[in-house]
Amino acid sequence: MARGTVTQRLAATGTANALELRNVSKKFGALEALGDINITVKPGERRAVLGSNGAGKTTLFNCITGDFPPTTGAIRFFGEDVTTFPEQERIRRGLRRTYQISLLFHGLSVLDNVYLACRGVSRGRFSMIRPRRNDALMQSAEDLVRVVHLEDAKDTLVSDLSYGQQRQLEIAMALSGAPRFILFDEPAAGLSPTERRELVEILTGLPSHVGYIIIEHDMDVALRVSEQVTMMHNGRIFKEGKPAEIEDDPEVQALYLGGGHGHG
């Protein structure tokens, strides 16, 4: 597959959608985890993906990031067909994700974690020269630590952070190195009400050209930080619409919200 030159890619991004999934399905043996998924996300658009456990939300993320390829279908990222690209190629094109389970570097400090994330998409990954304090990457790592309100803990080892702080760090790492599109996998899970408010602030405060898809069980968070909602059920898309429409939809309420929408 031709990956195209930088100019071709940049030209393609002008008019293209940020993310396009066409007839994507994923089978694990006989189990169909995803079936016939079609999603189009415009640049800068913020979308929530909702659904009960086992609806295929995380599988969808794994297909988009390249953790594993879809069984059928195509994925285009800013106009470019990335269906068969390895994970790091997608990262270099500006796709980021956060993880549900903690996949941080526990033996390193907060700042070092973010610095590694920034370094991963730039040159000099094998450099044996220590970064200076005014190093551009170190500066951007410091800025990101500030964005997620972790500046007081920047020299703390990740293993000494609280759970909520680890989730905040996870977001800082996703924001590293000029992302164009981010996949947030349940960023609010396990957070206290205060931390959830902070999370909403961080998400709504992102630069407007950065779009994202957020998987979230907390409806209060999900509906406040998204412009579009995709409901999934049993590996298929069940409904799409604006947050208000989804909230008021009787079918959705019966299936997912269980009548009154809750905090579950």
Binding site: D112, F126, S127, M128, I129, R130, L157
Partner: protein, 349 residues
Amino acid sequence: MVAIDRPAPREDSRMWIEKIPAAYWALVVILLVIPSFASDFVMFQIFGWTFILGLIALSLMFLGGYGGMVSLAQMTFAGFAGYMVAILGASAIDTISQGWPWWVVIPLALILTVIFATAVGWLAVRTEGIYTIMITLAIAAAFFYFTRQNYDVFNGFQGFNSVLPPRLFGVDWRGPEAFYYLTLFWAAAGYFAVLYVARAPFGLALQGVRDNPRRMAALGYSVTAHRVAAYSFAALLAGIGGILLTWQSAQISPGTVAIQPAIDILVIAVVGGLRHPIGPFIGAFLYVLLKTFAVDVLVALGLGGERFNLLIGLGFLVIVFFSPDGILGLWEKLRASRNRDPLTGRERH
């Protein structure tokens, strides 16, 4: 594998030289003045050997502590460098030794060692944990038997003798005092190089690979390439140690690269502690003291002198049992318990 040292607060505006604690300065002064009162035996045999073994064990500490990879082939890399110096330089076996000048021989020996280790690393990083130990052990064993059976290049069982350091600046570098400073210099250089690289992008990335290889791959790093590069860097340290070791005993033979010395290096690194580059030197000092004096102690107690390995083994068991982080870990435990209030168990401030 656990965390290495904690990073220093970055806001500190003092010069780096002012931030070094007084105890470190005391250690530097002591190390520098030891030759003014120590005997030739202590300088050459005790400290010289400690610095050399510490440097070779440091290469294992770098791989294990920062990279999470335990290699039993570090002594093999050291011995390989020693062999290269003997083969390419001068020795008593002038039918094999090429007698090239030292400024060609030493860099070339180190380059060949790094290439050899990179190839071994390239094989070994495909495995994890116990399998890495097995594959590097297999390579160590294979190299040992190869040197013992190959007479054309490695001179078989006999190896090479009269392998001497060059008389640079008119100094006999095998003289006790000169050799002390020579080994001290390279041990210190290795120690500071490891400390420095650990905070450089390469070292940070290696620690990232240790903590979470999958995430590193997702961040755009090549996990395999970083692991292989760690072997190359570590081999440079081991190679320097191996050349010094060859000069110290003025000979290199298959006994240097046998399985026992390979395991000794692992014992030294683990007993000293894999958390900080000073650990291997503490372990090496203890090992050298035991190896040198345990025989006398045992004989004085009326036991067979050949039982000194039993003492080392017992020491190893005790340390691993009480502190998986080696002597460094014991030290930290002690410090933490002194800071703790004995009644409440809380930390004092």
